[in-house]
């Protein structure tokens, strides 16, 4: 297990990990889980799906972690149960990392075996590094080897999470091929290799609409089962997600409590959806789309930002004034183009929408 330096004092931790936050739920599910578990799994596949999608287990309420198509989560869990690696694809804010974290928690009990892939990630960070002092003193040996999260996962038989897989260079990505097909990591320097224990598997996430990504090689792609997580279907569904996440984050940040936020969040989600899809919700009017993606994740951060502002400086409730600056900040990423988009939206959509006058005025003032 990964050691946390301040594990004795969890309450001061900025963000609690899923395994800590939902420990009671996992316990409740595990207690009533009678189905067979694949070796190395803490829960049965059915119980994992229940943990992610929510439900009731012997009287205790399990909160839904993912709101959306159950079939997708079932495919993801079944993939992991068949020893195939899982690749979660989707635009930003479709809960890829969130789902991956909770899958790891439910299956392996820990979400902490994690590699954040970046353009600077090299092979040593994927496979293993060397403790050079030891290497010089004793020569190549297992003691001189610094294991990567991947290697540790293989030895423990737990899930490894690879975040933003496609941000990493293609040659480095291909290091995974041996691991995925042979379930072993050779260490040629020691004429040795690490063999994965049962329970080991990989969950990768990648953004399929991002610029500057390194396309997966077909050899690697073949070794993954792909599940595409879509954007929420309707305004109501998306609003529910945003409201819940904002509440969770806000509570975690110990923001002062404020009045219910549902109605205002619904407006933010409406604006984001309309701009993202390039048309009004009723489909009657075409709109310009801004350069940013305006994903659900961004709506959440607008909600949290507005909450902080309202609680500390404003009236204590989300209102047009606290929202406006946050909305403008989220939409206008390119000072020239996006400004036109925002202005057009203001004048052609918001001005005529009944009950939106306050937001219209507030945003105009900010711009």
């Amino acid at each position: 297990m990964v050691k946390s330096s301040n594990s004795s004092d969890d309450t001061r931790q900025l963000r609690c990990t899923a395994e800590v936050l939902y420990a009671h739920e996992i316990e409740a599910i595990a207690a009533s889980d009678t189905k067979s578990r694949p070796e190395g799994w803490r829960l049965s596949p059915q119980a994992v799906v229940t943990y992610i999608m929510g439900g009731k287990v012997r009287g205790s309420e399990i909160t839904p972690k993912y709101v959306g198509n159950r079939r997708l989560i079932e495919t993801a869990v079944a993939t992991l149960a068949t020893d195939r690696a899982l690749l979660l694809l989707g635009v930003p804010g479709t809960a890829k990392s969130w789902v991956s974290e909770h899958l790891a928690v439910a299956i392996s009990g820990s979400s902490q075996r994690l590699i954040q892939c970046t353009a600077g990630t090299d092979e040593n960070q994927i496979r293993y590094g060397w403790n050079y002092a030891m290497l010089l003193a004793k020569g190549p040996s297992r003691e001189a080897l610094v294991p990567s999260p991947l290697m540790r996962s293989m030895e423990e038989g737990t899930l490894l999470r690879l975040e933003e897989l496609t941000r990493m260079g293609s040659d480095v990505q291909d290091t995974l091929i041996t691991v995925l097909s042979e379930k072993a990591l050779p260490i040629p320097e020691l004429n040795d290799s690490v063999h994965a224990r049962r329970g080991f598997n990989i969950i990768a996430t990648a953004n399929n609409r991002d610029k500057g990504v390194n396309e997966l090689s077909s050899a690697l792609k073949r070794r993954f089962n792909v599940v595409v997580l879509p954007l929420p279907n309707s305004v109501d569904e998306e609003t529910a997600i945003v409201v819940r996440r904002v509440n969770e984050i806000g509570t975690g940040l110990q923001l002062p409590q404020i009045a219910p936020i549902d109605k205002e969040i619904a407006r933010v989600v409406t604006i984001f959806r309309e701009m993202r899809e390039g048309q009004t919700l009723n489909g009657k009017q075409k709109l310009k789309s801004p350069t940013g993606t305006l994903s659900t994740a961004e709506a959440i951060s607008v909600g949290v930002g507005a909450w902080a502002e309202a609680a500390h400086f404003g009236s204590g409730a989300l209102d047009a004034i606290t929202l406006s600056a946050n909305i403008v900040g989220a939409v206008i990423k390119d000072p020239v183009q996006d400004k036109i988009v925002m202005q057009e939206y203001l004048e052609s959509v918001m001005r005529e929408r009944s009950g939106w006058r306050d937001l219209y005025d507030a945003i105009r003032e900010v711009m």
């Binding site: 596949p45 495919t75 079944a78 694809l89 792609k221």
Partner: protein, 752 residues
């Protein structure tokens, strides 16, 4: 479920699971009579189903004797429980009967109160059609089949499953009927079935089996006094009907049709039936999954996707894991699709959509044994199909026909005849239509409703040849336009219907004499001219046709000028198009008098100031191209037509007619180009500016490419100038000339 001596087998229409259970149950019960939910008036043709040449999907077609449009289809696939029950009984030579209300009764019902019933029943429609899917949905299953599978698994696979179904249906029906009371029609159907069941019970002392939609089971079990049922059916009368078997297709099965239960995935059900149920003792779920996934892979490969065997294995494993995760004994279509999507398509649903039709729906088309009596036209068509080796197929195919070979000619004739009786089995592809070559390319696809159209065509005759001829004459009677008449003649000749063609020629003659619409005559000539010129491969009423055409030409020459007067722009354009068609047909016609009289008519038109400007421009252009007008003459006419006194709009139209949408010619024909060029050069500045919009409008109809070419030509400045040598060669290089180019760009509309 057993009630007295009657075993009720409540099924899901077209459900392979039900079919397998029905066969197993029949084996166990060994009934002496089998009754099936199906129209009672179809009983006469049931025995044919035993013939070896009957390959589902098939349908029983019931149509009104007097009015074939009133028809109903009752489709069966090989995995339909009704079909399997029928086969079971026929194999053992046990009496088998359909017991539902006769279809003929529905036809007469439809006229009075059936429609009202249908409207009120539509809410509970889904429930009635496929109550098991409704239950499955409530239980969170993806479709009725996986639900049925689970049920069979629970009840141990024996006939006990039908007791469970009957129980579930009783509960469901009592709930539903509280909300939507049973419609009158529905009540009548069930009364009829009850009466038939008691009739069968009287006939034998042994057990009988009733195979019907699960929905009906609760209503058929209780003992209702026969008198009450008869009361309900009183006063219904049945139309006289004709019943036969017709081939059916997968795509039709997939759509909700005729007899209620439409299913969504024949391809998948067929796979289940053949790979699992037929050999259920030897087949494991893993084989069913692997077999399906390799089907998916081969279709993906056909689409050019590299799909390895390794991914087939992985897809099958994932499908099985998903099935066990969802507590299904066998992967359903949903599991299979999820697995293919995730493994073979890398999450890209477009790939799956591409193969959806072939994979999930399928392209199967049924076959009928030769012994089955067909309607005369269908019989005739089958004879031809056999002779010409043309098998009807549900998939769209291209057929290339060589008219020089005898079979090719016959094939083309058959397809043309079918077109005439409105049975569009084949369509001549547009690019080839009407071209005088020996090759025809047809797109052929057989649709089951063509069987109905064949029945409808019976009113024209009992062989395809006879019916086609009569249909053409009938169409002509309804048609007053000459152009369509001429087309019909051409169609008749292509279909080798000489008698009809001859008759039509006479009729057209009469019609053309009485017509006053020159545009129609103009349009009627080209197809006839084509026949006269190229149609010699077929026997022709040559003399009559030639006489007709020459008569029409005379009429055109006489009436052209008057017909071109006082037209608005739209009509003028239609007229211009008709003239262009006719103009290209004139050289095909024999006899110098025709082309001479056309030329005369054109000169008259060109000089007639009252005629539409567009057409005058066109006329001059044709004459100029022919060489009947010299360049100088043409130049004079040009500047006259475009002089300042002429209203701008007229001038524009004239120019448009003159340019005749042919920028190509303008670019390549230097004489023509310089003609217009010199006219422009000689214009005083004021008039030039006045005329700019006219020019802009006339060239505006050219496409960008053509306009760009013209620009290139002007820029190069190297065209010969025959009429006005005023422009020196060096002019192209002069500063003024270069300065003017941007303006020219904007006139030509190239600067945007």
């Amino acid at each position: 479920m057993k009630s007295g001596r009657t075993h009720f087998l409540g099924i899901r229409h077209h459900g392979p699971g039900s079919a397998a259970s029905v066969v197993a149950a029949l084996d166990a019960i060994n009934p002496h009579i089998v009754l099936i939910e199906g129209p009672a008036d179809a009983n006469s043709v049931l025995a044919y189903a035993a013939n070896s040449g009957m390959h589902p999907p098939l349908a029983i077609l019931v149509h009104d004797q007097d009015d074939p449009v009133r028809a109903s289809f009752f489709p069966f696939a090989d995995f339909s429980p009704e079909w399997q029950a029928l086969q079971w009984a026929l194999r053992r030579q046990i009496p088998v009967r359909f017991i539902d209300l006769p279809a003929g009764q529905r036809f007469s019902l439809r006229e009075n109160k059936f429609e009202a019933d249908e409207a009120s029943a539509s809410n509970s429609d889904f429930l009635r059609r496929d109550p098991l899917s409704a239950l499955a949905e409530a239980a969170g299953e993806s479709d009725g089949e996986s639900w049925w599978n689970g049920l069979v698994e629970q009840s141990g696979g024996g006939p006990e499953v039908f007791s469970a179904i009957a129980e579930a249906m009783s509960a469901l029906r009592s709930e539903v009927e509280k909300q939507y009371p049973l419609s009158h029609h529905e009540a009548q159907r069930e009364a009829h079935m009850r009466l038939e069941i008691s009739q069968a019970l009287r006939e034998t002392q042994e057990d009988i089996a009733v195979v019907c939609g699960a929905w009906h089971v609760p209503a058929l079990t209780p003992l209702v006094p026969a008198k009450q049922d008869r009361e309900l059916l009183k006063g219904t009368k049945s139309a006289k009907v004709i019943v036969t078997w017709v081939p059916w297709t997968d795509s039709r099965l997939a759509a909700a049709s005729g007899y209620g239960a439409g299913i969504i995935s024949p391809g998948w059900y067929r796979h289940l039936w053949h790979e699992f149920y037929v050999r259920s003792s030897t087949r494991q779920p893993v084989e069913v999954a692997a077999c399906w996934q390799s089907k998916v892979a081969s279709l993906l490969r056909e689409e050019g996707q590299l799909t390895s065997s390794a991914s087939v294995i992985e897809s099958a494993r994932l499908a099985l894991a998903l099935a066990s995760l969802r507590n299904h004994p066998l992967p359903g279509l949903a599991e299979m699709q999820d697995a293919s999507l995730s493994v073979m398509c890398h999450g890209d649903s477009i790939l799956l959509k591409m193969i959806h039709e072939r994979l999930v729906i399928g392209h199967a088309i049924g076959e009928i044994d030769e012994i089955v009596p067909q309607m005369p036209l269908a019989e005739d068509l089958r004879r031809w199909q056999k002779k010409l080796r043309m098998k009807p197929s549900a998939a769209q195919e291209d057929l290339s026909v060589d008219l020089r070979s005898e079979t090719g000619l016959l094939k083309s004739e058959l397809l043309h005849r079918l077109l005439l009786i409105d049975v569009p089995w084949g369509r001549l592809t547009e690019a080839q239509a009407g071209r005088g070559t020996f090759r025809e390319i047809w797109t052929i696809v057989w649709q089951p409703e063509l069987s109905v159209k064949l029945v409808e065509a019976l009113r024209f005759g009992t062989t395809i040849e006879q019916a086609a001829g009569n249909a053409a004459l009938d169409a002509f009677e309804k048609e007053t336009s000459l152009a369509r008449g001429a087309e019909l003649i051409s169609l008749c000749l292509n279909a080798n219907l000489c008698e009809a063609a001859e008759l039509l020629t006479h009729k057209l003659q009469v019609l053309s004499v009485n017509t006053t619409d020159i545009e129609q005559v103009l349009r009627a000539v080209p197809p006839l001219a084509n026949i006269l010129r190229y149609g010699t491969a077929r026997k022709l009423p040559h003399a009559a046709l030639a006489k007709l055409v020459s008569g029409m030409c005379v009429e055109i020459s006489a009436g052209l000028v008057t017909a071109c007067r006082g037209l608005n722009e739209e009509v003028a354009i239609a007229m211009r198009d008709a003239m262009r068609l006719y103009d290209s047909a004139v050289p095909l016609l024999e006899g110098p008098h025709i082309s001479q009289s056309w030329k005369n008519a054109l000169s008259e038109l060109e000089a007639d100031d009252a005629a539409s400007a567009l057409l005058r421009g066109f006329a001059l252009r044709r004459l100029y191209d022919e060489g009947s007008r010299t360049e100088t003459e043409a130049a004079t006419r040009l500047s006259r037509a475009l002089s300042m006194s002429v209203p701008i709009l007229d001038a524009g139209q004239w120019l448009e007619g003159f340019l005749n949408q042919s920028a190509q010619l303008l670019v390549h024909d230097t004489r023509l180009f310089s003609l217009i060029d010199s006219w422009l050069m000689e214009l005083p500045e004021d008039s030039f500016i006045e005329l700019l919009p006219v020019m802009r409008r006339a060239v505006g109809r050219f496409d960008t490419m053509e306009r760009r070419r013209m620009m290139e030509k002007v820029k190069s400045g190297t065209f010969e100038d025959a009429v006005s040598p005023a422009i020196a060669e060096g002019a192209a290089m002069s500063a003024a000339f270069q300065k003017a180019l941007p303006l020219l760009n904007s006139i030509l509309g190239l600067d945007e």
